[in-house]
């Protein structure tokens, strides 16, 4: 397996960890600001809609300028989004934070393009399997970490997610 995959897998793991730390906490955090169940659904949809719209743009940019810059932009967006979530004082800040995360990242498409660039065709399914397994590890550890961190306050897991993105 190419060595170039190792930093990518590390980035992917930290990304997924940042995302999965939020999963169990975000609904309660939003309720703290008076969000209804429908509003909580809309918060999740915000990230999906923004990612849906921005992903092709970042993918196209990565074809022009290279993958690294786009992957770094995704980390910066994560850092800004998670920081805003932690520092937020109103419901609208949660929407803006999720919007920044969704609009600012290249997402899985650019990660897969990177994997494709550095692997031979015969290695690709194995390499995509490694990325998938990394996602799996993130989904195992993130919620457990969240349950520990939330004891110190709702903002703490978000600051940790921001630090991981940074």
């Amino acid at each position: 397996m190419p060595r170039a995959l190792l930093p990518l897998l590390a980035i992917t793991f930290v990304d997924v960890l940042g995302f999965t730390i939020l999963i169990p906490i975000l609904p309660f955090y939003a309720e703290h600001f008076g969000a209804s169940p429908t509003t909580i659904g809309a918060i999740y949809a915000t990230l999906a809609v923004c990612s849906l719209l921005s992903s092709p743009f970042w993918g196209r940019l990565s074809d022009r300028i290279g993958r690294k810059g786009v992957l770094i932009a995704a980390q910066v967006a994560g850092l800004l989004g998670f920081s805003l979530l932690a520092a937020g004082t109103a419901l609208w800040t949660i929407f803006v934070a999720r919007g920044i995360e969704g609009l600012g990242g290249g997402g899985l498409g650019v990660t897969q393009a990177y994997v494709t660039d550095v692997t031979r065709p015969s290695e690709r399914a194995r390499a995509f399997g490694l990325v998938g397994a990394t996602f799996g590890f993130g989904f195992l550890i993130g919620p457990a970490l969240a349950s520990v961190l939330v004891r110190y306050g709702y903002q703490v897991p978000f600051w940790v997610a921001a630090a991981l993105a940074g």
């Binding site: 993918g59 196209r60 074809d63 993958r67 494709t116 399914a125 194995r126 989904f139």
Partner: protein, 214 residues
């Protein structure tokens, strides 16, 4: 551990017309459609699962979390140790078909679940199917995409996953409200469409060009 650049900058990127033409090509277009149908199946199941498990087998949050942990462990094991060997032996196309067939069986089977142990059995089958399908289809899409358009095409493919996350929860929760035992119908239908598309791509004999004789 620094991330090296994998691809140099280019002066002229492919035009939108060229990208559109690639997406309309029979193989790449069908692969993306197959992936989209699979994503619809996956998301409609994942987003309805907690309510389904609560109503059918009485699971609370801890049991639901444990089920997802079990599912993650199965996926990690398959993707770390088995997918490479399986693809080397059978090829990505056949592995994707096998995964989609497992997915149809898993989604169709959950309608008959009456006890937690039965549910765990179908969850293991479902995790196995996802762990086979994702890397295999991902590799196939990446190989079918022209090298200078990979970032764009794989990102468009990724966008369809987000689209699935927006569409499918409404369908699956609507069915769940009517009858929880029918929850599997929505993902089964989407997985069956994906299987059919995949079958036509990888297994069904392609029509031979007609050779005219004098």
């Amino acid at each position: 551990m620094l991330l090296p650049e994998s691809k140099g900058a280019v002066k002229t990127a492919p035009t939108l017309a060229e990208i559109r033409a690639s997406l309309r090509s029979p193989v790449l277009g069908r692969l993306i459609l197959t992936q989209f149908a699979f994503a619809l199946a996956f998301t409609s199941w994942v987003t309805a699962f907690a309510l389904f498990a609560e109503r059918v087998v009485g699971f609370g949050a801890p049991q639901t979390a444990n089920t997802f942990i079990l599912s993650s462990i199965v996926a990690i094991v398959v993707q770390l140790w088995f997918i490479g060997r399986l693809v080397d032996r059978f090829g990505e196309g056949r592995i994707a078909i096998a995964g989609l067939a497992c997915a149809v069986c898993a989604y169709a089977g959950v309608g008959f679940v009456t006890a937690p142990l039965m549910l765990f059995g179908f969850i293991v089958l479902w995790s196995l199917s996802s762990a086979l399908i994702r890397p295999a289809l991902g590799a196939l899409v990446s190989e079918a995409a022209p090298a200078d358009q990979r970032g764009t095409i794989l990102s468009v493919n990724d966008s369809f996953n987000y689209l699935a996350f927006l569409i499918s929860p409404f369908l699956s929760t609507t069915v769940l409200r009517i009858n929880p035992h029918l929850t599997g119908i929505v993902p089964t239908l989407f997985a069956a469409v994906a299987l059919l598309l995949g079958y036509r791509l990888f297994v069904a004999p392609r029509p031979q060009p007609v050779v005219e004789t004098a």
